[in-house]
């Protein structure tokens, strides 16, 4: 097991390096550099540029240096000082900007994963064990609907229901009075009150997918010879189900940890807009539109790194579950 983790960690190094290169390349994509962009931005808005300040900026990002040195300055600032550069659009350090949003994105991600698991697991289990029962048909139908309804529609629907039935404005993750407040129990409760809609919206399609995967996997496993053999040894049905086929069938659950995050950031920007969520998705979109490249690069970098970490986590869990993965048997 230790060897497996070490091997996976070792493989992460080149991956992370590649990610940083790509993020840096994205920062370099727009014509000109940060300084020229800043100048044109300021001039557009009729302000004058302080040459000394401009020099400082060139110095700070090593803009006069060869590209390799620029990359090195950028990445070492991030790794050593947590300095992701400056967002000119917000006129704030990128790090400050993200420190409020990234944790919320992670909270949303984890909540969505948990929601997906808690709902998908029992339903998938039920529809496999009671194949072709009416409950199975209901689950299957609901699952198809969940996959088919576009998320923004679901978001609008849920918001409408919340507004009319519960008389609550559930857009965003906080009510107005808690938006800027420091953390407290009340603020946390407020967060929970808002969180459920994005979680349901974001988790529905994944849940429906997982139900189908679990059902299919389990149905495959339930008729494997080792299940019959276990039954022939006199084990109870529950024990057989939970100990043997289920353990094989749940591996897709662990994989969700890896793929939910990028999904949240990329695919669900629309939902975040509709629900006006203070997560990183909308931020990225705006940053890209206004060529606020240090911000965009930072978000891409962080989300990619988190995805790699998530994949690593799910792989380690998978290896813990399945000795064939652990021992490298294909």
């Amino acid at each position: 097991m230790l060897g497996f983790v070490a091997r996976r960690l070792g493989l992460m190094v080149p991956t992370l390096f590649a990610i940083s290169l790509v993020s840096f390349a994205i920062i370099q994509l727009p014509p000109g550099d940060y300084a020229t962009t800043l100048v044109s931005q300021l001039e557009d808005s009729g302000q004058t540029v302080d040459t000394a300040q401009l020099e400082a900026i060139r110095e700070r990002y090593g803009l006069d240096q060869p590209i390799v040195v620029q990359y090195w300055t950028w990445i070492s600032n991030i790794v050593l000082h947590g300095d992701f550069g400056q967002s000119f659009q917000w006129n704030q350090p990128v790090a400050d900007l993200l420190s409020s949003r990234l944790p919320l994105t992670i909270v949303l991600t984890l909540s969505t994963v948990l929601f997906t698991w808690i709902v998908a697991f029992p339903i998938g289990l039920y529809s496999a064990v009671r194949q072709y029962s009416w409950g199975d048909y209901v689950a299957t139908t609901v699952g198809f609907l969940g996959l088919a309804i576009p998320n923004f529609l679901l978001a609008l629907g849920l918001m409408y229901i919340a507004l009319t039935v519960f008389d609550a404005d559930v857009g965003g993750l906080f009510s107005a009075e808690y938006e800027e407040a420091p953390w407290s129990l009340a603020r946390f409760a407020d967060l929970l009150g808002h969180l459920w809609i994005p979680v349901i919206v974001l988790g529905t399609a994944g849940t429906a997918g997982l139900i189908r995967i679990l059902r299919a996997n389990l149905l495959d496993e339930l008729h494997k010879p080792y299940v019959v053999a276990a039954r022939s040894r006199g084990l109870s049905e529950t024990r057989i189900l939970f100990k043997y086929p289920l353990r094989v069938a749940v591996s897709p659950f662990l994989s969700t940890i890896g793929w939910v995050l990028p999904l949240l950031v990329s695919g669900e920007i629309v939902v975040s807009q509709v629900l006006s969520l203070p997560t990183t998705g909308p931020l990225l979109l705006r940053a890209l539109r206004s060529q606020d490249m240090y911000l965009a690069g930072a978000i891409i970098l962080l989300v990619s790194v988190l995805t790699v970490v998530g994949t690593l986590l799910s792989d380690i869990l998978l290896a813990r579950m399945d000795p064939r993965v652990r021992l490298g048997i294909r």
Binding site: R7, P225, V228, A229, S232, R233, L235, S236, V248, P323
Partner: protein, 718 residues
């Protein structure tokens, strides 16, 4: 006869009748399928006396497995036990219980399963969960049924593994099924089955997936444990050699019924049912020499949903009486000696005048065939393999470093003569398939040469061929694969499957292609009407015919058949072997026939090469190799084959199933770790590995002691 109950007398009972341990009466198990209701078990009557071994035999699809599973309520939906009784006599006396009345998930079943009746299965690897260690799965049973603590269960698991002769049980107990060989897995299954000292062991083809050498050891083990514990065994197999080896009684099944039941002696020396006759005749017997035509059972088992009227066997029966057999459903009648048979010929009330008993089956004696002139070696070889090596790197670790080499083929030299059938035998993993794949250039060998003589020209080395020259070679040399089920693309019609090589080699298309495919279908004994059918509509034997047609459509000169009949039933196997023989004569084909089944090799091949760990250890013409082997490994292989004659249960050479690691083969003679004739200080000396020596004309052996050893083969007279 459906609900007729047999009471009392059992076959082996000489004195007072012993009540049977298990008695099936009128058992029916049905499957509701799209093709209709399949009566897989259709009124089975069977008794298993205490302490004896009853073998259930019959062709594939006759309902043997379903019968076995019905006993323990293991038939999965859409199947269910729909009638009859399964009377089980619990140990220590008491009322007997009817297991047929229990539901599939009845908790009462759980006390019987694993404790009173255990079962082992055909695919030992698949029958163990890959997620838990062997010790975990064994211990689970012990804790559940015997109430042991976790620590006690572990100790007991080790003891059980030792009892089934697993080497190093303390380590094996913590390993996973996929780290063990097939033979080891089956031992683990047996250990599990025995852990609660059951009264009945049901073994459903437990050795079919294993090598002969391993099979012999597993059969020994079951016999040994049976002698220790006095349990009964219901043993399901289609291998009549195994039956002769282990059975006390034999029940022959056809289409969901037991059609004949008697002692092993009675079944083998005095078979009564015409089906039993045919089954016995269709087994190639070791020691009967090369045969011109193998007898077969005509036709094939009908689909389960289309049971013929009257006697279900009548469409295939040589003795069928028109007007009787197709209307009367014969009941099983006891001939007074405990030998039961269900056939109107044995029913005095139904047998027409003029038919006398006992039934004699007129069958041409199998003719041993003289070795063909083409084979004696006066013509230059078609193919010459020289010092061929195929090494596969084993990659490991972070960057896929090569940490070792599997020597799959390790210095093989051999010549294939035009028109001959060269057999290639050896245990699984010895490199037979890899050698075959190198010959057809599906694999590019690491080193060595394969000289091929196209037409009358000079030989070319095919290991170096590329592009068009390689494609031309691959037209001449084709393969027939092992598994008739997975080797055909389910989404292609026969026209596409068989015609595909014609298209890829740009030889024919359109109506010409159709004509050639139709012609080929006829040649392999299939109707051209099947052109547009998909493979799933065909039986295993028919699919293998399709495979053969695909191999022959390009008019090859050499065909490499890799375990081409191994997945087939005895009778179908004989049909396919006959077909291969006919086609060989018709198209002047040369075969390289790879098989682990020695009796099949003997029946078909002119010469045989025996492989061990990537090397050829003996090469000789078939008769010499089988009657006077010179290598201890050949001797061991031969003696492991069960012979379908109950009188010949003899003690024989047994090989351990601990094959050496092919990555680190032992020093000296690679066989010395298992060789019964090995001499310390000679065979294990690193400096002197034995090389292939010619000991007589056309007889090569790689053994240091071949001159002094007097080895036994199989006798030739029947």
């Amino acid at each position: 006869m459906t609900d007729m109950e047999f009471t009392g007398s059992t076959l082996t009972a000489a004195g007072p009748a012993v009540p049977p341990l298990l008695e099936l009466s009128g058992l029916r198990t049905e499957f509701a399928t799209r093709d209709g209701l399949v009566r897989a078990v259709d009124g089975v009557d069977l008794r298993i006396p205490p302490g004896s071994t009853v073998c259930l035999v019959g062709e594939s699809g006759c309902g043997k497995s379903v019968t076995a599973r019905s006993i323990l309520g293991l038939v999965d939906p859409p199947g269910h036990v729909s009638g009859g009784h399964i009377w089980w006599q619990p140990p220590g006396g008491g009322e007997r219980v009817d297991l047929a009345a229990y539901g599939r998930t009845d908790p009462r079943f759980r006390r019987i399963r694993g404790q009173q009746i255990s079962m082992i299965f055909q695919e030992p690897l698949a029958a163990l969960s890959p997620m838990y260690t062997v010790g975990d799965q064994l211990g689970e049973m012990l804790r559940l049924h015997r109430g042991l603590t976790k620590a006690e269960a572990r100790d007991e698991a080790i003891a059980l593994l030792k009892r089934v002769h697993i080497p190093r049980p303390e380590q094996r107990v913590d390993e996973y099924s996929f780290q063990l060989s097939g033979g080891m897995c089956q031992r683990v299954m047996i250990a599990m089955a025995l852990s609660c000292s059951p009264d009945l062991l049901i073994a459903d083809e437990p050795t079919t997936a294993l090598d002969v050498t391993i099979q012999a050891r597993i059969l020994d083990l079951i016999a040994e444990l049976q002698a220790d514990t006095g349990m009964s065994v219901l043993f399901i197999t289609h291998d009549l050699g195994v039956v002769a080896e282990i059975a006390d009684e034999v029940a022959v099944m056809y289409l969901g019924r037991v059609v004949e039941h008697g002692s092993t002696e009675q079944i083998f020396t005095d078979p009564r049912h015409p089906y039993t006759h045919r089954l016995l005749r269709s087994v190639p017997r070791l020691g009967s020499g090369r045969q011109r035509v193998l007898p077969t059972v005509r036709g094939q088992v009908p689909h389960g949903a289309r049971r013929p009227s009257g006697c279900a066997f009548h469409p295939r029966c040589d003795h069928a009486i028109a007007g009787v057999c197709d209307t009367v459903d014969p009941a099983a009648l006891d001939g007074g000696d405990g030998h039961e048979v269900a056939c109107v010929l044995y029913d005095d009330a139904l047998r027409p005048d003029g038919r006398t008993l006992p039934l004699t089956v007129v069958e041409p004696e199998p003719v041993a065939e003289p070795v063909a002139a083409a084979v004696t070696g006066d013509r230059p070889p078609l193919l010459e393999v020289r010092d061929l090596r195929m090494h596969f790197p084993i990659r490991h670790g972070l960057f896929g470093r090569t940490t070792g080499q599997v020597h799959a083929v390790d210095g093989v030299s051999l010549a294939v003569r035009p028109g001959e059938t060269l057999g290639l035998v050896g245990e699984s993993g010895c490199g037979k398939t890899t050698l075959g794949r190198c010959i057809v250039r599906a694999e590019t060998p690491t080193s060595g040469q394969i000289q091929y003589r196209a037409g009358d020209g000079d030989p070319v080395d095919v290991t170096r061929l590329t592009g068009g020259a390689l494609r031309r070679y691959q037209r001449d040399v084709r393969t027939v694969f092992q598994d008739p089920f997975s080797s055909l693309n389910p989404r292609m019609t026969l026209r596409q499957i068989i015609g595909d090589p014609l298209v890829t080699h740009g030889i024919a298309r359109g109506s010409e292609l159709t004509d050639r495919v139709a012609e080929m279908l006829r040649k392999v004994g299939l109707s051209p009407d099947y052109l547009d059918r998909y493979p799933h509509a065909f039986s295993g034997g028919q699919r293998q015919r399709v495979n053969i047609a695909r191999a022959l459509i390009l008019g090859p000169r050499l065909v490499v058949a890799d375990e081409a009949v191994s997945a087939l039933d005895v009778s179908v196997r004989a049909q396919i072997l006959n077909l291969l023989r006919e086609l060989q004569d018709e198209f002047q084909l040369t075969y390289v026939f790879i098989s682990h089944d020695l009796s099949v090799v003997e029946a078909l091949c002119d010469r045989v090469a025996v492989m061990y760990l990537g090397k050829i250890v003996e090469l000789a013409d078939t008769a010499t190799l089988f009657t006077a082997p010179k290598h201890p490994y050949t001797e061991a292989l031969l003696s492991a084959v069960p012979v379908p004659e109950p009188g010949r249960r003899t003690r024989r050479t047994r090989l351990s199933d601990d094959l050496p690691d092919p990555v680190n083969p032992p020093a000296g003679c690679w066989f010395h770790t298992r060789c019964p004739h090995a001499v310390a200080g000679l065979c294990d000396q690193p400096g002197r590995p034995p090389v292939l020596d010619t000991v007589a004309a056309g007889h090569d052996v790689a053994c240091l002691r071949h001159a002094e050893l007097d080895l036994t083969g199989v006798r030739t007279e029947m």
